[in-house]
Symmetry: C2
Subunit: 123 residues, 2 copies
């Protein structure tokens, strides 16, 4: 069970990749690589994510043990989110993935244009 990295049958893979199977999960993990961050910082850093969606995403990540929440007493409220050990472990491949997409971003765009052209031409 610890040595079948070569091949994983059935839907254990789905359980694993569910950790990323949302629009913002990986983005937020990525944004947290800078260290403990407040929600406002995250929203600014990410761009285009609404407060509600960020809250929901952080909740999911906490639920799965990737992220920790720490609240400080006082007013105005101060809250910080941090990657847990597990989150840091998973950050590495996430970051590697992101870097590669950035490196090969033009391949993706080219593929999309080709696909769109192929949709319009024969249709």
């Amino acid at each position: 069970m610890a040595a079948d990295h070569g091949f994983i049958a059935d839907c254990r893979a789905r359980l694993a990749f569910d950790l990323l199977a949302n629009t913002w999960n990986a983005v937020v993990v990525w944004a947290l690589r800078a260290g403990p961050s407040r929600p406002g910082e995250l929203r600014e850093r990410i761009g285009g994510i609404s407060p509600k969606v960020l809250t929901g995403t952080l909740r999911r990540l906490r639920f799965n043990g990737l992220v920790e929440r720490r609240a400080y007493a006082g007013s105005p409220p101060r809250v910080e989110y941090t990657l847990t050990g597990l989150g840091l472990t998973l950050l590495e491949p996430v970051e590697a993935f992101g870097v590669r997409v950035f490196e090969h971003g033009e391949d993706v765009m080219a593929a999309r244009e080709r696909a769109e052209a192929a949709e319009h031409a024969p249709g």
Copy 2:
């Protein structure tokens, strides 16, 4: 702009991680690591994915240039899907992620149980 791997602002990250932002995207990429595969093989290998959803996922992956489709003439139909160069490039971090989740799967489960307990206790 090719050297800011240390920090990516705004929502380019979202564009990147959209490639994984679905339930089955990463799972199918993962399942294709074995080499060219027919849809039936993929369904069997993955488990729990319906034909329609597999088709849709493969379509998305093709659209983004991660996967290639090759159809062979004849009857019954024979179709094979393969990871493109880009797909192979991205497979590595995907696989690394999967492996790590399998290694630390118990952390995830423990976090979920803790989270569920925390929901029920105070509520």
